[in-house]
């Protein structure tokens, strides 16, 4: 029964979050946006104390339910293992050095601001990346088939959506991540979660003390070891009738498999079966507390620390102008906040309806989003990235606020501008939603050229996108490392 409930909840949440990552129409996030926001690492980086507390309490009460139900990557591994792991599981010793080594590295990466590593290891982000890079194109392809059929029928239920590779490195990382995850799940069930995953390790520190856990009743146990063979986490030692609760993900497969009712999910807090358990628990509790403190502390530190900006804007394509400073979407407040909070889950990229956001290829900010205007511009009515971002890297803002957030400044390259040849154009002037561009007479050459009021320009990129000069626009937006209001 418990297993069935777990599977139903897990599948629902997994479908929900995957649908959220696939959806490009913007209708789902109002309903399902919370599914991304309850993910552990995003909540930590967003300093979303309510959710962090909720998850900690959940784990403290029921063990690593998070890993079996909420985490989409965990549920995905369960699915893969269910289909392809046909041999029985067997108990394995905990690889402490690896687990805590990776967790240590991870925390260090957060503190030092090496966010590419953080993004690489975070489980939810890994899933987001896989879906956005590998599944969304397939989804869009099907959508486009439907759109073509709808077009023939004169129906507007489906509309065509461009499929394009936003960043090759991120795509490769997604492919490699998927392969690694699938291989590990096929070979050893939840090996990834109990060796590499920093969230799993962190929650494991808490789940040692979970109030409710699967407990083996040695009186009823007939030593058939069926439970151990079903344990995806390889944490059930049937010989010694003990379970490593730091690795147990509460899948309830063991309980379900026991024919003798010897395994039960029951209140076990404080019930020390062995004397040693107590001392272990104390240590564990301390470790958990410090672990949480470190995570929260480092996130808080990032929010205040002034980081000197640097780095070159990524050049994804010949058509992308070389920007001295990358453009981050409105709501990110600038580079500092974006780079320290974003875990590269690609949810904003998957959702961006104007084809503006794409993951950075810059090593330091790998997989974190940035804006560019080759396929569209950051339209005034759209606030979608800010609504979906679970980490606080892009903070919510209203439509009205958007027109006052300056994310960059339009810059003119006169050598490319067609006005320079005496051609009448003025499209940047005509299309600027802020009225920041004017045609002025250049005294030296006696021709009218566009001129940008840098105070009014918000960097939306309408001018860049609609500039007739190709492949490099004669007017392009230079990012602002720190956004401000105009």
């Amino acid at each position: 029964m418990l297993k069935k409930i777990r599977i139903v909840l897990a599948v629902l949440l997994w479908l929900g979050i995957t649908a959220l990552l696939l959806d490009f129409t913007g209708v789902l996030h109002g309903w399902l946006g919370w599914m991304a926001k309850i993910q552990f690492l995003p909540a930590v980086l967003a300093l979303n104390l309510g959710i962090i507390l909720g998850l900690v309490i959940l784990t403290l009460v029921g063990g690593r339910l998070y890993c079996s139900i909420i985490c989409p990557l965990g549920v995905f591994q369960d699915g893969v293992a269910h289909l392809f792991h046909k041999r029985p599981y067997r108990f394995k010793k905990e690889l402490k050095w690896l687990r805590y080594g990776v967790l240590g590295l991870f925390i260090l990466a957060i503190i030092l601001g090496i966010n590419s590593l953080v993004a690489l290891l975070a489980p939810y982000s890994a899933w987001g990346r896989i879906v956005q890079n590998l599944f969304q194109p397939v989804y869009l392809w099907f959508n486009n088939i439907f759109a073509a059929m709808a077009e023939r029928a004169g129906n507007y239920a489906f509309y065509n959506k461009e499929i394009w590779l936003r960043s090759l490195p991120t795509f490769i990382i997604a492919v490699v991540t998927l392969i690694v995850i699938v291989v590990m799940a096929c070979r050893g069930g939840r090996d990834y979660c109990n060796t590499v995953c920093p969230v799993g390790t962190t929650l494991g520190l808490i789940s040692r003390f979970a109030m409710f856990r699967p407990v083996i009743d040695t009186e009823k146990c007939k030593n058939c070891r069926k439970c151990a063979r079903k344990c995806k986490a390889s944490c059930l030692d049937a010989v010694n009738h003990s379970i490593d609760y730091s690795r147990c993900v509460n899948c309830f497969n063991c309980i379900d498999s026991c024919e003798f009712d010897a395994l039960n999910y029951q209140f076990a807090w404080g019930k020390k079966k062995e004397a040693e358990a107590g001392s272990k628990a104390d240590k564990g509790r301390r470790a958990f507390l410090t672990g949480t403190a470190i995570a929260i502390g480092s996130a808080a530190a990032k929010a205040q620390e002034k980081k000197v900006d640097g780095g070159l804007a990524a050049v994804l394509d010949k058509k992308v102008p070389k920007r001295e400073t990358a453009i981050t979407p409105p709501g990110s407040n600038g580079h500092k906040n974006m780079y320290s909070h974003c875990t590269g889950c690609q949810l904003c990229v998957a959702q961006c309806p104007n084809n503006v956001l794409r993951p950075s290829t810059d090593l330091e900010h790998l997989m974190q989003p940035e804006s560019s205007y080759e396929r569209g511009w950051c339209r005034p009515e759209c606030t979608r990235c800010s609504q979906v971002c679970p980490t606080g890297a892009i903070r919510p803002f209203s439509k009205e606020e958007k027109s006052t957030i300056k994310i960059g400044t339009a810059t003119i390259r006169r050598d490319l501008c067609i006005a320079e040849n005496g051609e009448s154009c003025g499209n940047c002037v005509r299309r600027c939603p802020s009225g920041a561009i004017q045609m002025v007479k250049d005294e030296a050459s006696d021709i009218f050229i566009p001129s940008v009021d840098k105070e009014r320009c918000i960097g939306c990129g309408a001018c860049e996108f609609l500039c007739p000069t190709r492949p490099i626009s004669a007017i392009f937006v230079e990012g602002l490392s720190e956004h401000r209001n105009v």
């Binding site: 129409t25 209708v27 309806p353 569209g376 051609e423």
Partner: protein, 441 residues
């Protein structure tokens, strides 16, 4: 123009159906079978429905010849015997396609009309070559009707540049004497001053026009803007006075009068449930006796069949019906349509804008009644989505109206004198307003 004015000026008009009946000797009797008109100047018996070869079905850059053959076969069978083309139509491929389809029939069983379309290079050598090439393209030794293509825009100076200074007009007159041109005329787009000038040439005997091709339909009858183009009523009356046979183009304004807004359709349907909007437009024109033939650019079988039906049992309009059409014209003018007939003369835009595509999509949405206007409107979000989705389907992003840079290069090419950049900007602003009213489609 109010109702009284309409009635007054309609005296000539009201006479029309009567004359149409009176000249039954010149027209085939009503009943089944194609309606014909006799050219009083030479006795040509011409079907009232003429085939305009400007809208053959295209597959990319190429005309779909099989379909052209099929449609011409059906048209010939139904008795359509007037085919109007030009060396400029359909990327210069219309003449050949029409020629191929028609040369399967005896030459005397149909009339060919083509034009000297020297819009670009109008030197004598280039113009002469164009003229001579038309014979080869159409595989004929003579043209029944030959037109100076679209004069009026730019007035007399442009006319003189294209046809007088290079000696082409004199040359064509000699060709007429030689029998290679049976009738010499012109097609007209422009203002009244220009038209008067061409009439003056006729009156003073400089060049006697054998026929004139004008744009006429129930909307343009008295609702042309008067600045850039002239009321068809004025043109008709001037030509009628001089007994010059008239060929009609744009009877449906490039198809716009074939699918009219719902309230107008309702008016038509409440009178005759089985008649199409297009048939009303055709009957209006056909009620005027000086009209020799009405050109319709039928690009598929369905409109061809439907038009054959209209002209096979042709009923001229009563005075009351003509008055009713004027009311419909007033209703039509209430819609913010772009008066584009999709003739493609403006194309290709050097910046890749799909000008006729944008206009026809816009017009379609306006007339379909699926036109989102304000967020207070019922079903606004649905209509908005319909506009935006169908716009993206019809026009790729980089060819949409907001990419127009107002270089004005298209403007002189437009026979309807549409201020294209201004209209594109109007549509771009409209789309922008639709987009900005919500963040989801």
């Amino acid at each position: 123009m109010d109702r009284r004015d309409f009635l007054k000026t309609g005296i000539a008009a009201c006479a029309a159906p009567i004359i149409a009946k009176a000249t039954a000797s010149a027209s085939e009797a009503n009943g089944s079978g194609m309606q014909y008109r006799i050219n009083p100047l030479n006795g040509d018996k011409i079907s009232l429905l003429g085939y305009g070869c400007m809208r053959w079905p295209m597959n990319g850059d190429e005309i779909v010849q099989e379909k052209v053959d099929e449609m011409v076969a059906r048209a010939m069978e139904a008795g359509i015997n007037y085919y109007d083309t030009s060396p400029a139509y359909l990327r210069g491929k219309s003449e050949r396609a029409a020629g191929k389809a028609l040369s399967r029939y005896p030459r005397e069983s149909y009339f060919i009309a083509t034009k000297l379309s020297n819009f670009g290079d109008n030197s004598d050598t280039a113009s002469l070559k164009m003229y001579k090439d038309s014979f080869k393209e159409m595989n004929t030794r003579y043209f029944d009707y030959y037109l100076l293509h679209s004069i009026g825009g730019g007035g007399l100076p442009v006319f003189e540049q294209r046809y007088v200074k290079n000696g082409m007009l004199d040359f064509l007159k000699k060709e007429k004497e030689a029998g290679r041109i049976r009738n010499l005329g012109f097609s007209f787009h422009g203002n009244q001053e220009a038209f008067d000038a061409f009439m003056k040439i006729h009156d003073e005997g400089g060049t006697k026009w054998d026929f004139v091709q004008i744009q006429m339909n129930y909307v343009d009858w008295t609702h042309a803007d008067g600045v850039r183009n002239v009321n068809a009523k004025y043109l008709y009356e001037e030509l009628d006075k001089r007994e010059i046979p008239i060929v009609i183009m744009e009877p449906l304004q490039g198809g716009r009068l074939a699918s009219v807004p719902a309230n107008i359709t309702k008016e038509f349907k409440s009178r005759e449930p089985d008649s199409s909007s297009a048939s009303w437009a055709f009957r209006f024109i056909g009620s005027y006796p000086r009209v020799l033939t009405i050109l319709s650019g039928m690009s598929s079988m369905e409109p061809l069949e439907e038009n054959i039906r209209t002209f096979s049992n042709f009923r001229p309009m009563s005075e009351e019906e003509l008055e009713f059409m004027e009311k419909m014209a007033v209703l039509m003018k209430e819609y913010p349509l772009v008066e584009c007939t999709a003739c493609q003369y403006c194309m290709p835009c050097p910046y890749g804008i799909d000008i006729p595509g944008i206009f026809s999509h816009y017009n379609k949405m306006v007339t379909d009644g699926t036109f989102a206007q304000s967020p207070e409107q019922k079903d606004y979000m649905k209509l908005r989505r319909a506009y935006l989705v169908s716009y993206d389907r019809a026009i790729p992003t980089v060819r949409q109206a907001d990419h127009c840079i107002h270089c004005q290069k298209c403007v002189p090419h437009c026979p309807q004198s549409i201020r294209i950049p201004r209209e594109l900007n109007r549509i771009a602003r409209y789309v922008e307003q639709l987009k900005s009213s919500s963040d989801i489609l």
